[in-house]
Amino acid sequence: MSLHFESIIPSLPFILEGIGVTIKFTTFSLLCGLPLGILLALAKISHQYILRWLAEAYTSIFRGTPLLVQLFIFYFATPQITGYAITTFEAGVLTFSLNSAAYSSEIIRAGIQAIDKGQWDAAFVLGLSYGQTLRTIILPQAVRNILPALINEIVDLLKESALISTIGEADLLRRSQIVASEKYLFFEPLLVAAIGYYIMVMVVSLVAKTLERKLRHA
């Protein structure tokens, strides 16, 4: 066995730039996916049958098909259907936002429904509206249930973001593959990518733990 870490040193900056791409991609997907997830969760607990049905159908579709298939459909089929030449980054963010919204909506719905119904009753008798009750009474309590599971969802999103390398986005994985094929070395650049992902996941987990601790004491 011969390892040649020294020969990929010049390529390290190129690979590590992929961390920025991965973070940017994950952040965008989260920023679009989370609000949609909240809306879906609210639809799921709504009294309107049609809203509940739509949200359930949405979730079922995005959880019931492979993420990679969804990504391919958005990337390869969008130009065919709409005529719009979608970029890899756009297709990736679109797919991952819509997909993570489906998962996070389940987490948020469960978190809201875990709150005692009596809290709603108490708020309504005091005269608070649905929106005021949700915003000031239910969600602040539900966050404690929601946050740990939601952080897991972010970690999943971060790791699965490696799938965008399959449509050619130059993320951490894609860049290490490029270096691999240039140098005919596989283990070294892929190990660098793996360590890069691991460090990012650890940072997110650390932030999550700190946040959870703070919430428990709040």
Partner: protein, 236 residues
């Protein structure tokens, strides 16, 4: 005066309240008695507007219940339902501030005075999970009273607490009696009813079978079900 007329409520074709009518005067305390499943809670929920009746009307001082402001009705729940993420003081002032019923200064001043009256002055900045059951109940009562509602409802005020505390709760509720307030207590506790109540409404399977003064109820209950109820509870 609170006038309830021909109130009917069903859930999934199951009649919970059947044609209930009664009138209650201001300044009185009324007990809502009846076995489990008799419709006490549902009636209380209709009076607190948490449920909408299928038919019938509830009129208070000439206005339909639906037209009253939220400051007209206060309710103390069986499980208290304090907001666990808020301090005692915040529990009291939150709704009046959200609804702009009071200024922050006024609400806090009034809240602190109420808490003092209920012997909770040391607990103003505590969270509900730092309080005993009795303290939680007093906070719940204070929260219901902050906007000084003319209708005050209690759902099973003794059930979540030690049996020895019945006298204490009775005294607490009795002290809230005032000429411009009407208090209704749904309860299983005959001692509580005997101690402080003026009028008794007895429900059986969704129907109002007794609407009499306390003295009449305990001496000569008309309905067979009420006699049974008193006998059972007295023997336990």
């Amino acid at each position: 005066m609170l006038k309830v007329k021909a109130l009917t409520k069903s859930f999934h074709n199951h009649k919970i309240l059947r044609d209930i009518s009664f009138e209650l005067k201001m300044g009185t305390i009324t007990a809502l008695l009846g076995p489990s499943g008799s419709g006490k809670s549902t009636l209380l929920r209709c009076l607190s507007r948490l449920e909408v009746s299928d038919r019938g009307s509830i009129v208070f001082q000439g206005n339909s219940l639906t037209d009253l402001s939220s400051s007209s009705i206060g309710m103390v729940f069986q499980g208290f339902h304090l907001f666990p993420h808020m301090t005692v003081l915040e529990n009291l002032v939150h709704a009046p501030l959200q609804l702009k019923q009071m200024t922050k200064k006024n609400a806090e001043r009034f809240a602190v005075a109420l808490l003092k009256k209920f012997d909770l002055n040391g607990k103003v900045h505590h969270f509900p999970n730092q309080l005993s059951g009795g303290q939680k109940q007093r906070v719940a009562i204070a929260r219901a009273l902050i906007v000084n509602p003319p209708i005050l409802l209690f759902d099973e005020p003794t059930s979540a607490l030690d049996p020895e505390m019945v006298n204490e709760i009775a005294a607490l509720i009795y002290n809230l009696k005032s000429p411009d307030r009407l208090i209704i207590i749904a309860t299983h506790e005959l001692r509580l009813a005997k101690l402080i109540v003026d009028q008794i409404l007895f429900l059986d399977r969704g129907a109002l079978v007794e609407n009499v003064s306390k003295a009449t109820f305990f001496k000569t209950p008309k309905a067979k079900r009420a006699r049974q109820f008193i006998k059972n509870l007295m023997s336990t």
